[in-house]
Symmetry: C2
Subunit: 713 residues, 2 copies
């Protein structure tokens, strides 16, 4: 995949508009007038044979008349003229282009064909082309508007926002303006025939002035481009905040697809993005709030807990609740801090955390501001959130003082001011100060910044969210247990995965031989289709430990079975390695169209669908990956040992995960799905046994190792 | 608890202001000027010896000069003069009062004493008194402002909002105004020395004009008043939307309290409120959005699924994701509907659900509106959400058409219009039309309305949320397993709860006698402090079925034990009823200060802390309650039977829950805590066994039935 140079696109010295119009409401007219209005400094070349001049710019009759140094072409012609325009532009050495025109992949077969040709041309020529079917982009710091959508000109912050929906792009522009911010870069990616979502991310990650990148993502087109962009974000320490949507298609597509790849997608995305320290948000508001916070607040260079300073008891309780809900740690104030606050605040102020400074303190503002500084200076505190509401008349006094406090500290200082009037909003917009609208929204955004910063500083990954513990793909469930017993064990055994061994015998001597071959202790069970409840029939002996015991057990089982059901056809007695008790886990593998084979791990057995305590990650896994997966499920507590049971053999479990991931990766050409449930994790030192496995090939089920071997548990 | 008559408070014909001030910024001045400004129709009597007249009203020198028919007194005097004022007001037959004055329970010991006296007087006199330390209330439809807080006069909807925080009250007033609504009734409850939060709820539930009641609740003061109010909401079909906060105190209080009552509180509240069909929200935005939706949208008289109609693909995906996340069912359109839409919409419109009508349809508006009507007429559809964005210039055309569509249907029709300008907001405010701000917020509010309506229509209760499956109180955990074996089993057995029976014997004949007494099959285990791992020592025999087998087992165990550790002191052999395999659950009881004894039930054993699949409900339980509890945990899937195991004995489990709840209720004078974990639920027909129980009395631990009896599982 080409790494496009997007500099000429976002910082053009000259712009041509192919299909320029004098009508300001047309997509060929809007950018021209907006460029003029905003005062774009470079050259502008409208191209349209119908005009000699538009908006004061000389209009060229055709693309051939363009000079050979144009950085960016905006293409606003009919869809069937797009490719030929682009070909002509290439002859004029155009350095980049954006196609507004629609009528491509989004309208069906004919459009898809046109778009494929476009993609072919882009690949061949190497010209970075945005769109088609997009509303373009802006770089407001350099007065570049290559877009026909409304633009927020009254606030420009070093935020880049990339959207796979034009509508979401413009709507979030409005939403973020409401909390005092504006995008410098805004991109609607359209159909992404050339430059894709993550190419933009990659470019912005490398722009020094950009503080934070946001995005609305339906799906990545190319893993290589995504890998490159996210590596770049990590390297340049650019926070990336994504609203990844399209997670509900699994339901709609369940009928047509048994691969689980779509259902898997959203969980795999989550896991993959977590690993890259991408901040994943869950709504439009959370998106803009988090971007605004990153833009406005300082990212501290060391970790510290949060102090909540509030004039309203209610707001303090809401924030404290949210801190607990989101796992944001509240600071324990140093006794010295508390002592100082006692002197500064009214006697009935609450000096815990939240610190309720009371409304009365508004009558002694110096004490309030000094209190905030005292709290900021507490070594236990990394972030102070100050909550205030209404009282717009105090804004002119407050905002400069708050700004001053913020500039005097290296810590994070956030102000949540609820219910403010438009004038106060405007005052905040003019300051460089961080302003958040409500207690709940403040703490939600803070959680995102906190997690990002913790991961950045400690290199540890995000805790897996509850969504990540996704539903086990319906597909796995649908085929589970339906296939015949076969040679699956052989596949697994080749990768060193432990499976129970067993043999059906029909004589005492064969039983003794089998037991010696398998190794003591063994389990013995009657094998008869007519005896379903083997234990009830006295047909099971566990923990058989010697030749003598085998002989006795053989006779006893046979007699019991005969007595239990004289008409039963006895096929023999199954002698099998005794499987130690343990915790049941599930290990599986699914093929994802974007990520390839992905490994699923979680608490298994009968608990698998109920608790969905499952995590997914692309194969192959390193030992570190596998260990992280094991640690990330809730059931890790059980594996470590709980209530007097365990610890269990986590070392072998990690090894087994790695081997299964290698198996899935090696065999991915034919392997569609692997589902081993349960895998029994025995006590520490006693290993792991894959008891029941289902293997599905690309075309048909290949193998199912049945638990002929069912432990008496 | 008195049921106050709040009519004179909220619909007064005459208002006295004790401590009236001519200073508009003072709490004794603000209501006077605001009443004048809004045009209160009744009489106003300022009382203050300092003035002859304020704002054109004749000012009385003292309370004694008041006429005897005054409905409401606003008290704005110093805290130490409040009680005497109230006593004087009583002599003037005052019908209700609100105390603005602070300086009571919120400032410590002295204030608490004053407040207790106040409460005593209120109880004795029966006069409904609001506050103290409150910012009052409004009834804007009748021009009543008994408040000193800012009031939103430009929008009055039949919404009542009650807040235990004055700040939250005023802030949500602003937030709801942003989405086009305003409260008719707004109450800041203050310290609730007299009238409490739920007294207000009870009153508003009985007011015919009120469409929806909202509240910010930190905690109920009195269960009787809460019961009464919620019964009234159910009876009058008034939706009650609560932001219940203070759920994080459990962390802070964990050190001082081992009762778990605070931690339990929030889970018990949730469970209790769910049962009363109270809508519980999780943030300030969700609160106002839900209130606005109930105010504006029609509550359909039958259930139906949701159709999402959108001009933006992105918004459609977000809404579909949210529908799945929140369990809001999407409608499957009738083929006839789809056929009609094909004629009305552009060829590349997506006719699934979401229905993407495309931006192009804005050029043929009649087709758009007709499409919406076609979808509303689909029998599978109960609710249509129409998403639109920006394009404010279309608002004058759109809003009347949308209003018309809404008035022509009995179904729920909701418009989400994102990123609108202030003028459009104002147009929506002027219409009676339902307007929501973003896709995520729309579906979140819709979920709340949907759930409420489903419960209303079907009588079924809300599904238990993930929060409700709360962490098992730390307290239970802290004491678990530390007490001595004792007589707990006796307590439980008296209530018919099955516990395993067993006996330690020291001779073969005693073993046989014990086994016969207990009933076969039995388990036999060596009893020796020196032999911890009984199985390793060959010291365990399960499924022993006859006298003969007992004798053989006795010898074998004794010999094995002697061989295993010749120095071990053998106390004897434990003969015990063999416990069938099954699912481990936990049943417990905690004392809650408000709700009394509450029963905890969930998946137990080693899974208990990990999955927190637990539900709580006040005792005593009816069989129906117990059955609902069993059905409400995630693990119900397992109990019903999953992956070839089960079904388990749910009938006996329900019975056991009822009996344990009766035990807890009967014994609540001395019983502080009961923790039975695990309770084994056997297969259907085979009952339930309480294997290990911890009972804690009010002062000390009373009993712990240890699992001397540990099943070999």
């Amino acid at each position: 995949m080409i790494e496009f140079d997007l500099k000429p696109m976002f910082s053009p010295q000259s712009i041509a508009i192919i299909g320029a119009s004098s009508d300001e409401s047309k997509i060929g007219g809007r950018p021209l007038y907006m460029l003029k209005q905003i005062g774009f400094k470079g050259e502008i070349f409208p191209v349209n044979p119908k005009y000699l001049e538009i908006a004061g710019y000389r209009c060229l009759p055709d693309i051939q008349s363009l000079p050979k140094h144009v950085d960016l072409a905006i293409i606003a012609v009919k869809s069937n003229a797009v490719l030929s325009s682009l070909e002509l532009l290439a002859t004029r050495s155009i350095k980049s282009a954006v196609i507004f025109s629609s009528g491509f992949a989004e309208v069906g077969a004919e459009g898809i064909e046109m778009q494929n040709k476009l993609t072919g041309f882009i690949k061949k020529s190497g010209i970075p082309v945005a769109g088609p079917n997009c509303n373009g982009f802006t770089n407001l710091k350099e007065n570049v508007i290559a877009s026909f959508s409304p633009v927020n000109l009254d606030q420009v912050d070093p935020i880049a926002f990339i959207s796979q929906s034009g509508a979401v792009a413009t709507v979030t522009t409005k939403l973020i303006r409401d909390i005092g911010c504006g995008y410098q870069y805004l991109v609607g990616t359209g159909n992404e025939a050339g430059v894709d979502f993550f190419d933009y991310v990659n470019y912005f990650a490398q722009q020094q002035e950009v503080k934070v990148i946001g995005g609305y993502l339906e799906g990545a087109r190319n893993k290589e481009s995504m890998d490159r962009a996210l590596a770049s974000c990590l390297e340049n320490e650019k926070p990336l905040v994504l609203l990844k949507v399209g997670n509900s298609e699994k339901g709609a597509d369940a009928a047509t697809s048994h691969t689980g790849s779509l259902a898997g997608n959203s969980a795999i995305y989550r896991s993959y993005l977590n690993k890259k320290n991408v901040i994943q948000v869950n709504s439009e508001e959370e998106l803009v709030d988090t971007l605004a916070l990153f833009n406005n607040a300082k990212l501290p260079s060391s970790l510290g807990d949060v102090a909540l300073v509030t004039g309203s008891g209610g707001a303090g309780i809401i924030m404290a609740d949210k801190c607990e809900e989101y796992g944001v740690p509240l600071a324990k104030l140093h006794p010295e801090t508390t002592a100082k606050l006692k002197d500064l605040l009214p006697s009935f102020a609450a000096l815990g955390n939240p610190i309720d400074v009371t409304a009365q303190v508004l009558q002694t503002l110096d004490n309030l501001f000094e209190s905030i500084e005292v709290i900021l200076n507490d070594a236990n505190v990394g972030t102070v959130v100050y909550y205030m509401q209404l009282w717009d008349h105090l804004a002119p006094t407050f905002i400069p003082r708050l700004e001053q406090i913020a500039s005097n500290t290296d810590k994070t200082f956030i102000v949540c001011w609820s219910g403010v009037a438009d004038e106060t909003k405007q005052k905040f917009r003019e300051s460089d100060f961080c302003w958040m609208p409500t207690p709940s929204r403040t703490i939600r955004a803070l959680k995102n910044m906190n997690e990002y910063n913790r991961n950045r500083l400690t290199g540890s990954y995000k805790k897996f969210s509850s969504e990540e513990r996704m539903t086990v793909p319906q597909a796995l469930e649908a085929v589970f247990g339906n296939a015949n017993e076969h040679t699956g064990k052989t596949y697994l055994a080749k990768y060193g995965i432990s499976v129970p061994t067993g043999k059906v015998v029909t004589s005492i001597q064969d039983a003794v031989n089998a037991a010696e071959e398998i190794g003591y202790p063994v389990v013995m069970k009657i094998a008869s289709e007519q005896i379903a409840h083997k234990s009830d029939a006295g047909g099971v002996k566990i923990n058989v430990k010697s030749d003598l015991e085998v002989k006795a057990a053989y006779d006893e089982i046979w007699t019991n079975a005969k007595n239990y059901n004289p008409n039963a056809q006895l096929e023999g007695i199954l002698v099998e390695k005794m499987i130690e008790d343990g915790i049941e886990v599930i290990i599986g593998s699914v093929q994802d169209p974007l990520f390839g084979p992905c490994i699923l791990f979680g608490i298994g057995g009968i608990f698998v669908e109920v608790f969905n305590d499952v995590v997914l990650r692309p194969a192959p896994l390193t030992r570190e990956d596998a260990y992280e997966m094991v640690q990330s499920i809730k059931g890790y507590t059980i594996l470590k040992g709980a209530r007097g049971k365990g610890p269990y053999d986590i070392g072998t479990l990690v090894e087994t995960l790695v081997r299964i991931s290698e198996f899935s990766f090696d065999q991915s050409e034919w392997l569609k799905e692997l589902d081993i449930n349960p895998v029994i994790v025995h006590e520490k030192g006693k290993g792991v046994t894959a008891v029941d496995a289902l293997i599905v090939g690309n075309e048909k089920k290949v193998s199912h190792t049945n638990s002929a071997i069912e432990a008496v548990r």
